[in-house]
């Protein structure tokens, strides 16, 4: 069984947001929900200033605080390490959302869940599949596109990334691309002091 993980190259990421739009359209996310975000930060003072783009998503922690906080058993970890939310079991208490140090979880609210791209009433009837995909009142997050992964595909954000700044693969396989990069380029997890053991690493920082 694989143990899926992702590596972000901060040198390669140019903040183009292709991943963000791919994720939104892959997962049919309501307008205010993002499973992946690319944060931006200026570092330094004029004229010695540079900009860093920091892609983020659910880190699929080995020691997932969200899972520990979930009272209903809706959040669980698959055998391949993907942390999932079972929408049928989620009661929407948000305990997981305040437990996640990465702010990676969102509550699906009824109004936005029923809005189309252009906002409910005005959306033409022909705009399918965008509306009401999620169960309102539940907490959602990135699942590494488990549906795609199960078909042998990489997550949507990885597939579209123009600079290939997102590298996805099996962390248990020492020869996989992410394993090699974490090893050779000093991969660091986000907020290690939170002791969550993320399966997402940053290189080239």
């Amino acid at each position: 069984m694989a143990r899926w993980g992702m590596v972000f190259s901060l040198a390669r990421c140019i903040g183009c947001n292709a991943c963000v739009v791919a994720c939104k359209t892959e997962n049919r996310l309501p307008d205010d929900i993002y499973f992946t975000r690319t944060f931006v930060e200026e570092v330094g003072d004029f004229p010695s200033v540079r900009r860093v783009y920091i892609p983020t998503l659910c880190n699929h922690c080995e020691d997932a605080p969200c899972e520990k906080a979930c009272p209903s058993g809706a959040t669980y970890t698959r055998d391949d390490g993907i942390v999932m939310v079972d929408q049928d079991r989620c009661i929407g208490c948000s305990a997981c959302a305040v437990a996640c140090p990465y702010d990676a979880r969102s509550m699906i609210e009824e109004p936005s869940n029923n809005r189309g791209l252009f906002g409910g009433a005005e959306a033409p009837a022909a705009e399918p599949d965008v509306v009401d995909r999620w169960r309102a009142g539940t907490v959602v997050k990135c699942d590494f596109c488990s549906r795609r992964v199960d078909q042998g595909l990489s997550p949507a954000c990885v597939a579209v990334c123009p600079t290939e700044a997102r590298i996805f693969g099996d962390l248990d396989d020492p020869d996989s691309a992410p394993s090699r990069l974490v090893r050779s380029r000093n991969g660091a997890p986000p907020l290690p002091e939170k002791n969550t053991k993320p399966k997402v690493f940053y290189i080239d920082y």
């Binding site: 690319t38 944060f39 930060e41 570092v43 520990k68 009272p71 009661i91 305990a95 920082y205």
Partner: protein, 294 residues
């Protein structure tokens, strides 16, 4: 550079307010702790109407606001399924046990021993009430996400505010003659708990100020940011200074007790709301800071 700042919805790297636990959740916490606190304080001189009031506050107020907050209220029973790891589940178990044992104990008190095993229910209800009074603090302190919550002071705060709330209500109720027997020590207990709250607030701020940047930012929001007026005015002023003055001045008169009780409850509620409001997620990466990449 000003360094990372509160960034709202923007994609700038920085601190973001937690937005998941809101006023409804704070109200649920408030009523859960208040009812259990009243129940425990009332056990000092148990009269069934007061015990019942404590049970009602916890048993109705808390679920009411929880269900308001809950995304899928019809499935909320599921919250009991993971007591092995989730403080929410443990708390729910505590509430169920508290409600059951509490009703039986109250019935035993009311019927003067007609209900059997009164002493057992008393101990079970007391222990369950302790769980209800503290588990929310454990739920907050257990996760490292919101730095100002991530401290052992959180369950202590829950316990102290529960007791303070209980004492506040009891001061008035006892003043109205609703205790089984007079409790002359009650104003002193109230004073003691209020002083403990003062120590608690100082400790919280001290811990936050010496904590991670997120905790520091939260403390700053309480002391100098947009929440400072509410913190100074309601949590410290109404919630601590006012009861101290009222109880020292005249802890025996009904007016003094009402003033102290209102102050304590306002401070308690304000604390519950503010501690949610100032909770922040820290930036996933810090540049030029502690332990941060270059």
């Amino acid at each position: 550079m000003t360094g990372p700042a509160m960034v709202g919805d923007s994609f700038r790297l920085g601190y973001r307010f937690q937005r998941h636990w809101d006023v409804a959740m704070a109200s649920a916490f408030f009523f859960g702790e208040l009812g259990a606190g009243l129940f425990v304080v009332a056990m000092l001189s148990p009269a069934w109407p007061v015990l019942a009031l404590g049970l009602l506050i916890t048993g109705i107020g808390k679920p009411w606001f929880h269900l308001t907050h809950m995304g899928v209220p019809q499935k909320s029973w599921r919250a009991i399924l993971r007591p092995d790891r989730s403080w929410t589940s443990r708390g729910l178990v505590g509430i169920v046990v508290f409600s059951g044992a509490g009703v039986l104990y109250t019935a035993a008190v009311a019927t003067d021993g007609l209900v059997p095993l009164g002493e057992v229910w008393r101990i079970v209800a007391f222990l369950a009430a302790l769980v209800v009074m503290t588990y929310q603090g454990f739920a907050m302190s257990h996760s490292t996400a919101i730095a100002i919550w991530s401290t052992a002071l959180m369950p202590i705060a829950s316990l102290l505010y529960a007791l303070a709330g209980g004492a506040a209500l009891m001061l008035v109720l006892e003043g109205l003659g609703l205790a089984a027997a007079a409790l002359p020590a009650l104003p002193a207990i109230g004073l003691g708990v209020t002083v403990a709250l003062l120590v608690l607030q100082a400790s919280l701020l001290h811990a936050a100020h010496n904590g991670t940047p997120g905790a520091k930012l939260s403390a700053r929001l309480l002391l100098r940011g947009r929440y400072a007026p509410a913190y100074y005015g309601l949590v410290l002023g109404a919630g601590i200074a006012l009861p101290l003055i009222a109880l020292v001045a005249d802890g025996q008169s009904l007016v003094g007790r009402i003033v102290a009780a209102v102050g304590l409850l306002v401070g308690f509620y304000a604390f519950r709301v503010l501690i949610f409001k100032v909770g922040v997620y820290e930036p996933v990466m810090r540049f030029g800071g502690i332990g941060a990449p270059r």
